[in-house]
Structures are given as structure tokens and as C-alpha cells.
């Protein structure tokens, strides 16, 4: 009786933060917001109806009158998490798997915290970066299984802003994390076992690093 209730509660909370902001009218609000057209001006409607549309926004020009007369509230999710920092592939996955996305988010926070404890900072292309990816992939694998984990991790790397070198490093360390999670079978003390394994791999230079901080 309790399990379905909690599941429903999580879905409601997550829907409110993720799916709802991506509904059709919100898409149009986002589309209008990005154009930087000022609502309330004489030329607003004209400028709005001439805006370029895409697959998800092709009906938005019909809402120009409404968009030009009402102030757009800031998207709910933006107040809480940086939705913009998700890649397009990640946004699609969040819409498709909202419950799993929450677990992915929690796993990332856990990996960031663990990296901070062990390295002092969350850096870039160094040992802390390698360790963070290792931990994140492993925690996700434990909670979601290998297949879903791979989907989210690959989506995270799907950005043109990262160099090939960096992508190769991240994907390698992700795979090491997945392998470690499959190896560590015990649930109790999983994180400490995992941290030990990750630090050992760093020490033996078995995780990829572009720029060593030592």
C-alpha cells in the first residue's frame, strides 16, 4: 500500500519540476523568452510572428498575442536546478525517464560530495575529475543497472563543447566505474568499498587523467 503511494508522490514532485516546464505552452514561453523580444511594446506581436520556429515550436506564433501581453514567469525548474546545464540528450532522457533522472541527479551529488571529501575540490581533467566520473558511474550502475546508466552517461558527454581528449577520458573512467559496481556485490558499505577501489585505481594510474595535479 505504501510503496505505490511514495512512487506516486515522487512522480508528482518530479513532474512538477521537469515535465511540466517542458509542456507545449512552456516550450512557447521558452521560445519567446530566448528571442529577447520585449512584451508590451508596439512591435512585439509583429516581431514575434516573424520569429523562426522549430519542430517543437511551430505552433507558437499563434500564441504571440498572449505572449506579448503577459509577463512570462521564470520556469519553475530554473529556480531549483540549472536545467540549462543539461545537454539536449539529457533533457530528452529526463522527459522520458523522470524517476530514473532523479536517481541520476542524486548519484551525481553523491559523487561530487565524495570527490570533495577525498580531493578537496572538484577539478577538471585531473585525478578528482577521473574519480568523480568513476564514482558517479558506479553509484548509478548500482541503482539503475548498466543499460540505463550508460544511456545517461553517454547523454552527459554529448556536447560539442568538450574536446575529444576529454570525452575519451570521461568515457573510460565511466566504464571503470561501471565495472567496479558490477564487481562489488555487497550493498552494505558499498560506497566506502567503491571509494577505496577508486583511490587505489588513481594511485596505480589505472584511471585516465589528462593533467595530473600532483
Amino acid at each position: 500500500m505504501r510503496k505505490p503511494f511514495f512512487l506516486l508522490l515522487w512522480i508528482l514532485i518530479f513532474y512538477n519540476f521537469t515535465i511540466k516546464p517542458l509542456s507545449a505552452s512552456n516550450m512557447c514561453e521558452m521560445w519567446f523568452e530566448e528571442s529577447n523580444i520585449k512584451p508590451g511594446t508596439d512591435s512585439c506581436e509583429l516581431e514575434c510572428s516573424a520569429l523562426r520556429t522549430g519542430m517543437n515550436t511551430f505552433t507558437c506564433t499563434k500564441e504571440c498575442k498572449k505572449l506579448c501581453t503577459t509577463a512570462i514567469p521564470r520556469r519553475k525548474l530554473d529556480k531549483y536546478v540549472y536545467f540549462n546545464t543539461l545537454t539536449l540528450s539529457e533533457k530528452n532522457l529526463v522527459s522520458k525517464y523522470p524517476v530514473e533522472a532523479l536517481i541520476v541527479y542524486m548519484a551525481k551529488e553523491e559523487a561530487i560530495e565524495s570527490t570533495k571529501i577525498n580531493f578537496g575540490i572538484n577539478g577538471q581533467n585531473d585525478e578528482s575529475d577521473a574519480f568523480r566520473h568513476f564514482m558517479w558511474a558506479a553509484i548509478m550502475t548500482k541503482k539503475l543497472g548498466q543499460e540505463t546508466t550508460k544511456k545517461f552517461l553517454d547523454a552527459h558527454e554529448n556536447t560539442p563543447e568538450q574536446s575529444n581528449n576529454e570525452k575519451v577520458m570521461d568515457l573510460y573512467n565511466n566504464n571503470q566505474g561501471i565495472a567496479a559496481a558490477l564487481k562489488i556485490t555487497k550493498s552494505l558499505g558499498f560506497r566506502s568499498e567503491l571509494e577505496k577501489e577508486g583511490l587505489e585505481l588513481i594511485k596505480n594510474k589505472k584511471l585516465k587523467v589528462i593533467r595530473s595535479s600532483h
Partner: protein, 126 residues
Amino acid sequence: MNKKMWLIIMSLLILTTSCFSEVSKPMSIKKAEQLLGKNKFDVKAFQTGDYKIRAKMAVDLITSKYYIGKPFADVKKDLGGHDGYFENDAIPAYILTDKTSKVVWQLVFIPDDKWEKVRSVEIRKN
């Protein structure tokens, strides 16, 4: 529904919102000015300088809106490789305070929805 159930629901809600709001607090400009100082932003000096030099230019970089609306790829081209991390490895984040201190602050460049232009620049915890 009994009291215990309500308590569990409320705790869950608080936990969820506090988890989401954890990342939502950038340092205010006023506090940044007090903590880091305010020197004029200079691309070359930022690129070659250490965290102390970068820190002093952070407030001017934000308030002048130097990068707002500019191509997102320009940030790394101008300022060089970054040493911090915020949400995604591809988001430029430059450490501004001592890496060994308890709270490490960094300058973060947030992209727009399409990752094409810079939407905002903020000082956030590493």
C-alpha cells in the same frame, strides 16, 4: 492518514526541495566585491593569471556583462582551459579561491538552452 504518515511525507518534501535548492545560491555581487575585490576585467590577465588575479576581476566581468549573449565557445577560447567543475565538464568554471580552503568558489559560465550563447555568469561553490 495518520500523523506518522504526514511526518514522512513532509520530511520527503523538505528533503527534495532542500536537495534541489542546494545548487541555487550564487554569491551576491555585494558579497563578491567584499570577498574578492574589484579590478577591471582583462582577457589576457585572466587567462594567464592565477586564482588570486582571476578572483579580483570576477565582479567586473559579471557586472559589465562582457560575455552575456556571446558565443559559448568563445569563453574557453578567450580564457583558456578551466580548473573547476559545475554540473557538466563542458561548462567553463574557474576557481577563484584557495583550493585547500573549506569552501571553494568558482566563476561559472551558464549556457542558454541550446548551448550556443552565454546566458549568465555567476560565482558558485565548487
